[in-house]
């Protein structure tokens, strides 16, 4: 016999599935007009598309091909394939998903050709078991001994340690182990959900969860140290 809690859980699960499907549907519907403009050769639409995704694509490509120069070549080839092939895009997936799949295929092909391909599942980094927050920041009773620094209102353009904070974060993302970098870009920059990220990067759900957790924790730690540091003090957080 189902309890009220069971029914509540089932209802919430159905709502979550429906919301995810609706979100995906909205994304695909919103793509429709934009794809029509791309197919018509609208230069403004092409420029918008490239601007929207270029940085993320370079970062993703670099997580596979390793060198920045090779990554930029891969992304350029990806854009060519996208622009020349958009007439064949069938709209069954979101446009951005299609673009990401093209990029990842091209990056893996280049890496394999240069005998440098390593599956991302094997490039998670050696720090996956480290806690997100050092244990000494908690008291014996589990409360915060050293509370988190609030990051409300931190503006990407604001200067910390001599540079805009977005540049510090960008550098930290560059230094992430390849798999952590790829997962972070897909989840938090491109807005992909966990299932799609696993599919695109050929990761298990648990692996993806751990990689994202570690990447976010490192970046949060860095931002906290930048915000909390006295002016002129060196920032020692590594990412």
């Amino acid at each position: 016999m189902q309890t009220t809690l069971d029914l509540l859980r089932a209802s919430l699960s159905l709502l979550a599935v429906a919301a995810a499907a609706a979100g995906a549907a909205i994304r695909i519907v919103a793509d429709g007009d934009f794809v029509d403009r791309l197919r018509a050769g609208d230069a403004g639409a092409i420029r918008t598309l490239i601007t929207r995704h270029h940085g993320a694509l370079v970062g993703l490509a670099q997580s596979i091909v390793k060198s920045r120069a090779a990554a930029e070549d891969v992304v350029q080839e990806t854009w060519i394939a996208v622009i020349e092939g958009v007439g064949r895009f069938d709209g069954r997936s979101a446009l951005s998903t299609w673009i990401l799949a093209i990029l990842l295929n091209k990056a893996r092909t280049v890496a394999r050709r240069e005998s440098r391909y390593v599956p991302l599942s094997e490039e998670g980094g050696s720090d996956l078991d480290e806690p997100a927050v050092p244990p000494e920041r908690f008291a014996a009773d589990g409360h915060w001994a050293v509370p988190p620094v609030p990051l409300d209102g931190v503006d990407p353009e604001r200067i910390y340690a001599g540079r805009q904070i977005w540049r510090h974060v960008g550098d930290a993302i560059e230094r992430l182990p390849p798999a952590q970098k790829a997962v972070l870009i897909l989840r938090d920059v491109e807005g992909r959900d966990a299932a799609e990220t696993c599919r695109l990067l050929e990761l298990t759900p648990e692996n993806q969860r751990i990689l994202l957790h570690r990447a976010r924790a490192k970046l949060r730690n860095l931002v906290e140290q930048l915000v909390a540091a006295p002016v002129g003090a060196p920032v020692l957080a590594k990412a």
Partner: protein
Amino acid sequence: MAFCRKIPDLADGYIDRDGSLADRLRVGIHLRLCGHCRAYVDGIEVTRRLAAASLAAEPTDPLVERLLARLGPGGDRLRSSPDET
């Protein structure tokens, strides 16, 4: 034992809404009661926005022009979009 120590490990599942329902409910209730943990979770959201901002750099104009030129001789398939005129 205070729940605070568990928040860093449960925060992602709460933010992404893909943790267990029970954990998300526990985190949600705790965040209403604990300002420190709320600061931690809110800080992850800020970090995510900073990550997106850090990769929003525009491609160089020469790259964009090269790509646009690939569309055909003189770019004859190209039309200016209304917002460009």
